[in-house]
């Protein structure tokens, strides 16, 4: 079982990202379950969504409280107390941000966390460049494929192609690929350092 919790704000495609990850896992013939933190979501309000991936049918329906990976789509949520809650030891954190850990106020976390498992990726900027809108969902999934590999980049791209059409599909796919390359390069750099 690999469990992911997504944190973002209403309008950032937090729920769509979890569904895309589930669709990518399905394409790799795995079982997946994606669901939002149910509520009356409003544009800009904090939103959480979840995705579980496993090799056997997933029966539990409780919210993910002990995620293997956290995808934080909005860095302004970082200092809300519960964002990192329950992350398993050795878990992965990917943050949509162009700034470094010091600028994000995350030096303590970075010092405690296993190297190469806490990374930032400028997902919104990549989406702006490739899609023309700052929607971080697809690039965050590309980044996750490079960071933790619960699914492959190809599966993410296929899920994007299935969900969207035309320019939107192409833009999201390009942003996901760029984020994958960015995170792959970051990890290489960290491994070499």
């Amino acid at each position: 079982m690999f469990a992911v919790r997504f944190h973002g704000r209403g309008g950032q495609g937090v729920v769509t990202a979890a569904e895309l990850l589930a669709a990518a896992a399905f394409r790799e013939d795995r079982y997946a379950q994606a669901f939002p933190s149910f509520g009356s979501e409003r544009m800009g309000a904090p939103v959480t969504s979840f995705c579980r991936i496993d090799d056997k049918p997933i029966r539990t329906r409780e919210p993910v409280t002990e995620p293997d990976a956290l995808l934080i789509q909005d860095p302004t949520l970082l200092h809300q107390a519960d964002v990192f809650a329950g992350l398993v030891a050795g878990g992965y954190i990917l943050i949509n941000a162009a700034r470094d850990f010091t600028a994000l106020g995350l030096d303590d976390l970075a010092a405690r966390h296993e190297s190469g498992r806490l990374l930032t990726v400028p997902a919104a900027s990549l989406a702006m460049a490739h899609l023309g809108r700052p929607l971080p969902g697809a690039p965050m999934l590309g980044g996750l494929a490079a960071l933790a590999g619960p699914v492959s980049l190809d599966a993410v791209l296929a899920a994007i192609g299935e969900r969207f059409a035309g320019q939107v599909a192409a833009g999201n796919a390009a942003a996901a690929r760029a984020a994958f390359d960015y995170v792959t390069a970051e990890r290489k750099e960290l491994a070499g350092a």
């Binding site: 569904e19 669709a23 029966r59």
Partner: protein, 428 residues
């Protein structure tokens, strides 16, 4: 076709393959995605059906009653306050013996306003004369609709398919959406018993006085008894056609030789099964009995599933709705069912039954809490009636206010104020 699909979408696509001739529904969370998707299928010409927009749930049920009386296959969906608003017509559909199929995307009932999942809505209509089937997964929710049309039309009785709001309607999971020829092979065209036809006029729904009302109700109960036979037959036929176990009256899991059996309805069964596996690893002989049919109540099937000789010593009933002043709705029915047909208790002795009210208004039912509660049950320390994860301190604080002050104010708002004082920060 096997897909990764949202539960609502899986239901909408499956209902479409059942070829409903008239769909009439009013949107309400968390059911909206189902009728939205069906509306789109009709508009795009993918489904040949009359989609009627109305101004309320009362009108939605009234319109499907009219359509059904003309011999059309009809479908609607609702939830929560919407189900209550259509309640008078819900009773009428059953009283008239019209085979309407309705999805109820289960949700709490206000006040206080709450859009989240529990079973209060469907349970409030349990004696309206509708068959009630509860789905465990998105796949089963979709499958139950195919079975529901067949069951409803064979019996001339409406069927409610209950699926947990959000937990199933809004979850993306793997589901096999049957192809049209498969569904056509399973579900023949509707042959109505009664038809409103200007060429051959009849009256339907005339006044019936004391001279015959009891007999009409007697027949309604007879249809339910017939359903007890038909539901397993249809589930077996479904298995033969589609190769999947969906539907039926009850679903036992690891009950053989179990000392402790958890009884529950709906999607919580998945979490309960995972917990029971943990308990088995702990050395506790636990099992699960899922009730797929709540109306008719499958008393005999429950007795058989729990074993006539070796009965579990303890039963824990998870109640997803509360009957204030009484306790557990499912528990009361289960207790009556465990006595034999003559009303005597089982010679082997009846189990100790505990009621646990859980997951009201969307509170998550977690494996951790279930594990703790069921371990207590296995060691005989679970009280006869309790709430899972009740925040006692919040309730006690409000009780103290009520004792201290006459004008203590609205309880719900007082509790929310206490919560924001103890846990500052935005609510996720």
């Amino acid at each position: 076709m096997l897909k990764q699909i949202e539960g609502s979408r899986a239901v909408a696509e499956t209902v479409a393959r059942c070829r409903p001739q008239v769909i009439c529904a009013y949107p309400i969370t968390p059911q909206t995605h189902i009728v939205e998707a069906l509306g789109t299928l009709v508009k795009n010409g993918d489904l040949n059906s009359a989609f009627i927009n109305v101004e309320s749930e009362f009108s939605a049920m009234s319109a499907v009653i009219g359509a059904s009386a003309t011999g059309a296959r009809t479908y609607t969906a609702t939830a929560s306050q919407g189900l209550l608003y259509m309640s008078e017509a819900v009773y009428n559909a059953a009283g008239l013996g019209l085979p309407v199929v309705m999805t109820v995307a289960n949700r709490a009932i206000g006040a206080p306003i709450n859009i989240w999942n529990d079973h209060s809505d469907a349970m409030s209509q349990r004696d309206a004369g509708w068959i009630q089937l509860y789905a465990e997964t998105s796949q089963e929710a979709a499958d139950l609709h195919i079975q529901a049309f067949l069951l409803a039309e064979q019996l001339s009785n409406p069927v409610m398919v209950c699926m947990d709001g959000f937990l199933l309607t809004h979850a993306s999971e793997r589901a096999d959406i049957p192809d049209q020829p498969e569904v056509d092979a399973f579900l023949p065209a509707y042959q109505p018993r009664q038809v409103l036809d200007p060429a051959d006029p009849v009256s339907i729904g005339a006044m019936v006085g004391p001279e015959a009302f009891t007999e009409v109700r007697y027949l309604a109960d007879q249809r339910m008894r017939q359903a007890l036979e038909l539901i397993p037959d249809i589930a077996a036929a479904f298995w033969r056609q589609f190769g999947r176990a969906s539907g039926g009256l009850v679903r036992p899991y690891r009950t053989a030789g179990a000392d402790l059996v958890v009884v529950a309805l709906g999607s919580v069964l998945g979490t309960v099964k995972d917990t029971v596996d943990q308990l088995r690893d702990d050395g506790i002989r636990a099992g699960v009995l899922g009730l797929t049919s709540f109306r008719p109540f499958p008393a005999q099937a429950i007795r058989e599933a729990l074993g006539d000789g070796h009965r579990p010593r303890r039963l824990v009933v998870i109640e997803r709705a509360l009957a204030p002043g009484s306790g557990g709705i499912v528990t009361a029915e289960l207790r009556a069912a465990l006595a034999d047909a003559d009303g005597r208790s089982c010679p082997a002795g009846n189990p100790i039954i505990s009621t646990v009210v859980a997951g009201l208004g969307g509170r998550p039912v977690t494996r951790k809490s279930l594990h703790e509660m069921l371990t207590g049950a296995a060691h005989g320390v679970l009280p006869p009636f309790s709430y899972l994860d009740l925040r006692t301190e919040l309730a006690q604080a409000e009780l103290a206010r009520i004792r201290a002050t006459r004008r203590s104010g609205p309880s719900a708002e007082n509790i929310l104020r206490d919560l924001s004082a103890t846990a500052p920060g935005p609510q996720g």
